[in-house]
Assembly symmetry: C2
Homo-oligomer: 877 residues x 2
Amino acid sequence: MIIKCISTFSAVIYLLNCLTPEENTGCQHGLYFQDGERRVDYILTYHIKKPSSSRSNRQSSRFTDNAFTRSLRRGTARLGRAPTPQPRGDPEVASQDHSMDYHVDDKRLHREEFEGNLRDMGMELEKDEDTKTPGVGFVKIHAPWHVLCREAEFMKLKMPTKKVYEMKQSTGVGAKINTLVNKVTEPLYPNVEDNRTHNVKHLSYMFSREKQHLFDLSDRDSFFDSKTRASIVSVIVSSRSSMTVDWRLESETIETINYSRLSQLLYCFLCRKYFGEKIGLYFAWLGLYTQMLIPASLVGVIVFLYGCATVDDNIPSMEICHPKNNITMCPLCDRACSYWKLKEACGTARASHLFDNPATVFFSIFMALWAAMFMEHWKRRQMRLNYEWDLTGFEEEEVSDHPRAEYELRVMQKSLKKEHKTQKVLIGVTFAIVFGVILYRISTKTALHMSNNPTTRSNVRLTVKTTAAIINLVVILILDEVYGAVARWLTVLEVPKTDKSFEERLIFKTFILKFVNAFTPIIYIAFFRGRLVGRPGSYLYVFESYRMEECAHGGCLMELCIQLSITMLGKQLIQNNLFEIGIPKLKKLIRYIKSKRRSFQEEEREKKLQRYETDHFLEPFAGLTPEYMEMIIQFGFVTLFVASFPLAPLFALLNNIIEIRLDAKKFVAELRRPVAARAKDIGIWYNLLRAVAKVAVIINAFVISFTSDFIPRLVYQYMYSPDGSMHGFVNHTLSYFNVSNFQDGKEPMDPQHQVEMCRYKDYREPPWSNTPYVISKEFWAVLAARLAFVIVFQNVVMLMSDIVDWLIPDIPKDISLQIHKEKILMVELFMKEEQGKIQFIDSMMPCGGKEKRNNHAPIARSRSIPHTHSHTHANNF
Amino acid sequence: MIIKCISTFSAVIYLLNCLTPEENTGCQHGLYFQDGERRVDYILTYHIKKPSSSRSNRQSSRFTDNAFTRSLRRGTARLGRAPTPQPRGDPEVASQDHSMDYHVDDKRLHREEFEGNLRDMGMELEKDEDTKTPGVGFVKIHAPWHVLCREAEFMKLKMPTKKVYEMKQSTGVGAKINTLVNKVTEPLYPNVEDNRTHNVKHLSYMFSREKQHLFDLSDRDSFFDSKTRASIVSVIVSSRSSMTVDWRLESETIETINYSRLSQLLYCFLCRKYFGEKIGLYFAWLGLYTQMLIPASLVGVIVFLYGCATVDDNIPSMEICHPKNNITMCPLCDRACSYWKLKEACGTARASHLFDNPATVFFSIFMALWAAMFMEHWKRRQMRLNYEWDLTGFEEEEVSDHPRAEYELRVMQKSLKKEHKTQKVLIGVTFAIVFGVILYRISTKTALHMSNNPTTRSNVRLTVKTTAAIINLVVILILDEVYGAVARWLTVLEVPKTDKSFEERLIFKTFILKFVNAFTPIIYIAFFRGRLVGRPGSYLYVFESYRMEECAHGGCLMELCIQLSITMLGKQLIQNNLFEIGIPKLKKLIRYIKSKRRSFQEEEREKKLQRYETDHFLEPFAGLTPEYMEMIIQFGFVTLFVASFPLAPLFALLNNIIEIRLDAKKFVAELRRPVAARAKDIGIWYNLLRAVAKVAVIINAFVISFTSDFIPRLVYQYMYSPDGSMHGFVNHTLSYFNVSNFQDGKEPMDPQHQVEMCRYKDYREPPWSNTPYVISKEFWAVLAARLAFVIVFQNVVMLMSDIVDWLIPDIPKDISLQIHKEKILMVELFMKEEQGKIQFIDSMMPCGGKEKRNNHAPIARSRSIPHTHSHTHANNF
């Protein structure tokens, strides 16, 4: 029998250090080459589609060696690569489907060429001959010391030198406050950074073989830790092999295996050391964000409590709920609706006050500045981490700038131009879909609302609103998954040139789609609902039958608040925790069951699976995008509509305290260990955060001025109120309507009340003016005030954010001092070294130097150019 | 006689390469040490306050050597420094004022210690024994080869390696357009960058003595050019000497001498090579700015011409100028003024149209995007220059982060706390002064205007406005100088900690003050004049007698335009060209005359002055701040009020074409040559440019909506016009006033006209309404429209700018490819080197390697760990 298919080569990283060797003598087996000496730094896997006996496997191997590798050998001989030797000289050739086999062997050839190239780079490979996992082959890679040194030098890795210096403990009030804050918030998030209790630091310097004496190389095995070794091999595998296209095509589908269970103990307090800087940065960011949410939620709760405390002092709602209030309101729709009493809106009006009071204006300014502070603090934290992680001076690796393999493939296929056109069309289509969903939502909601209109009254209304919001949430959750797929599909169609640009485009698209998805219903409620509804007797209709929705008396703020809280809570509970934790577990289970069924006969052997084989069943690491995306949408909820929902930061905080733990557990125990990636910053996410913070200012300005009644109240108080108080405000906002002005067929069907005049909420001329029902001067005045408020708010808050940005230096003072100190120490170190050399030379040449030693500094001795000495004595003033 | 005062040590840079040695055998003398071999890299000067004979000079020198240096010698002996030897053993001690002498000798001791330290660093010094310039002593410094190498390594200088590669010529449409643009604009500015005609580039690598073989060191004298040598010595003098405070105090007052006349030939086409990156960046920035002004001024001229062409089609001005127009306007002040005919405003109305038409709205959007484009292009150009100048990977030197000497001095004096308080008060006072000047201007102008009011009519008015603007200009010019001094004084009081922060604070303060100074009158005219003037019969008065100013009919735009053009032209012509060129020349003349008078008796020797002596008479280089400041204020004129003055870019362009030449000439011929400073970017100036561009968006939004009549016209056309045309607009903007409503004593004194109703420009209710003279609904509607326009304009333009920012990548594509290519070439170079080593080892060990060479790649041979070889053969599938 012959193997049907050995699929393309795929690389799997493998973690080697078992915490301490003593703890895990059990796992020792999988961590070293067969000689028990050389560590496994990285593992490549390849898939064998149809599992067959290892015998036939070898046969095929021999076949390809005979038929195809010969030409390859010729082709690569000038590259100086040694073709794989053939240990068994069995020359039989099986009869088979040649075209199929050609494909299989093509892959195989690539693999062999690839392996040969790895060997050329100095790597040492070992095949796992007796793999217990059918369908998967493993190639273990060990990077010997000289390769590690060479690559570390090329990658300009900063490594700790022998030189140790004491880090200045930060003192002063600021530091004390910081320590206090850290202590208070400690239980909230796991320790995500290195514990900084020890205040000595090794001076770091770019590793270079010529400067080996600077580094402590006494223990070669531990000088480069497993994370560094793995990433060095990963760079060789993925980047150095980029010299021809073919290899990269092979190495492109890198899979990663996590070394799971033991590290569970670790959780994330050695996050950076275990996962590398990129994931370390994510946890640091999440930690800072969560920490920053504490003051925000505190202030938010205070603002909310202020609303609760002042609800009974609120004159407008007092006027509405006053027992003597007998204002008859106009029907809210033609024919079907009837007159109603303003008193009925009492509950809504009181509830609205909770979220619509002067404190919310303060709070939204506070939150805008909070966002600016957060960005600034993140910049500083990032700088600090860069310093502590020895990333200062490191430039982003060119690895990510590599042309994507798929791009080159497409270029080769010359289908690029056609795709480009399609892509543009498709983006248009997607936006149309988004817009269609909005329209669909509006009309569904309108219908829902309308059919309920005749029977619902304030309490029933609330229920309807809540259920509508829940329906909305479900739609959002489903569409979120759809949009994620759409974004990926669109980006693939775009064929970006490099991996980095692929990632950025994907993130950007996903962000736009998910953001639009999450915030469309909220924006609709905040800014479009209840506008342009017409007036009693001439309500506006869309599509002839659907009335534009109106908000309950007291503004749309209440509904906005309900929608916000349900979307936010629901998204977090269902999507983040259920999906993120539940689904990977499920997938893992399925993978395990599947392979179990396949290898049923080998069940007894399973106990002794190599570590990389057990890790193979874990879900591969899919990048940090979903984690960041989730958090940035949450950041949107916290900042964008904070004027209408001051409790958002609190909800976010509670979610994050759970989230940070679940994430850490997931990374350590549920996913394969990712290749450690170096990163100085969080990349595009920072820009997206900034964009959200910017948009938040504008949206909050509009929410305060248009959605809330803040501005009308202010205008009334300072322009129209006879005594400067809010008394009479409700009356001022209600216009008059003469029921005799109802057109035929539009008057209410059940004229239970005998009314002449009814009232409606709008600024229009009364029936007795020269121009009845025309928009009144008050409307324009209030509109002008609203717009002026938007301009003032936006520019003042933006200016204040800029000032915050400007006042807080990007680099913390102690870090800049520390960096400066490091530079000086480095120069001193080199100068000392220099002196040492000179003294050595002096001692080698006993004549001509001895007697002058007393007068000259050792450095001055280095002046070896002959004419120097005569001059040092000739200088006098 | 004894010298009275040898003032503190001051360093003077000296340029050594005389273009080609053959050309300047004449100047050879001053360029080398007395041995004629060692080049002078840097020159330190010290001042002798009372010139005396060189004999007494030496006497004093001996005195201090005897009395004070001994203790110093003891103190510094452990530093290993050789004290200055005494060549002439003349032990007489003159009787003199000891306290004075102590000060003098204190300085002297510092100087000697400093010189000793320089020698310790490996520098070679030579005193100029027979200086012909009295009062000035020179110390020539030569940095020997090993010092240059060591410092270049510490400074991580990137130097060209032997490896040469071909730069990819950029192809495609973009490149062709670029070439075309460059060709067209070539005559406009001198060639400020290296000529890029040769498309080969040396691969650069951080200089390191261990990698010396990479570099072409065949000509050691020219490997480091004069600019680099000078800056290396400068770093040693200023930075390495920072180990104790005292030295730095001495070296703080570095002066620079320019090597003038010969280089005049050069002009600036070797700008970077001659002046270093910092000044190179300035010229590159100025070049790009000037180049970008070309399209802006083109569009500006087109917009202006559009205004000219449509002036006769403009219905509002047609209506005003129509012969049948007989509208009587109300008097513009109480009692003194009389009725006037609207027809009289015909000229102003027509002129206003030139600057107040729909095209200006387009133009201000265009200019906002232009500013965003400019910022983006600059980022790209900067990146390109960084690449071409081998600055990629270079981090800002710590030199600028040094604590300023003065700061430490202050700390020592412990006067810091007190100063801090004073400073805050002072900043307050300054702002009060600025505000006072504004008030003063308003009142002066009001007075000027008022006294002229009865007699002036449109033409006379224009003259008054023009003269007022000229007076304003003179005030601005004087205050500019005052504010420059105030800013420096304030910053000195603040005692910033580092030189960099000193510079940034100074720039920021100067910018704020000069900007406020330049734009206050303009902002006043644009936004405050003509508002809140009251109405006929109840005009508003400030201080009981001064009326608020009103604008002529047709808006304040016309006056704004006059003010803008006069300020801009005047500032540029008088300040930039007269001050900047005239005053340095004058100063130079004065310096020369002064020293000539002093050294009258030595006149005949002057012909043979050393180069550094002649350069000593040049004005020292004072930094780029004035140049940048001038340009940024101009950038403000070009962007801030461009809606009212579309010709601003043209004026700026014309100015810059002259400016760039004058600047180049000044730097080369009028100033001492500055120490070459490395810089990756233009620092704080970029942030200030961004801030100006941001403010410009808001100001333009307000100019269009509030200063121009654009919004009222739009509102009239779409809300009030019966036929959708502009006919009747003038009538609509004029309110009615019944002359019988004049209060007693407020009616005009000369009732020549028999009028019942007069008109005035405002939106108020007519006399016959229920609420006469109250602000009308139209006013609020127009106000709302104006505010809405501001919001829309600001956010749309900001969004578009962000999109421009996002669409244009910061790093030009070809540069990022080039950088990537360089990295690969570097790695290849190292790999080849690696192979070379291995082959060398192989050839040294003839046994054990030969027969395997055929099978293994050279690199694979480097696997020196013993167990490796057994495995390379064991791998098979």
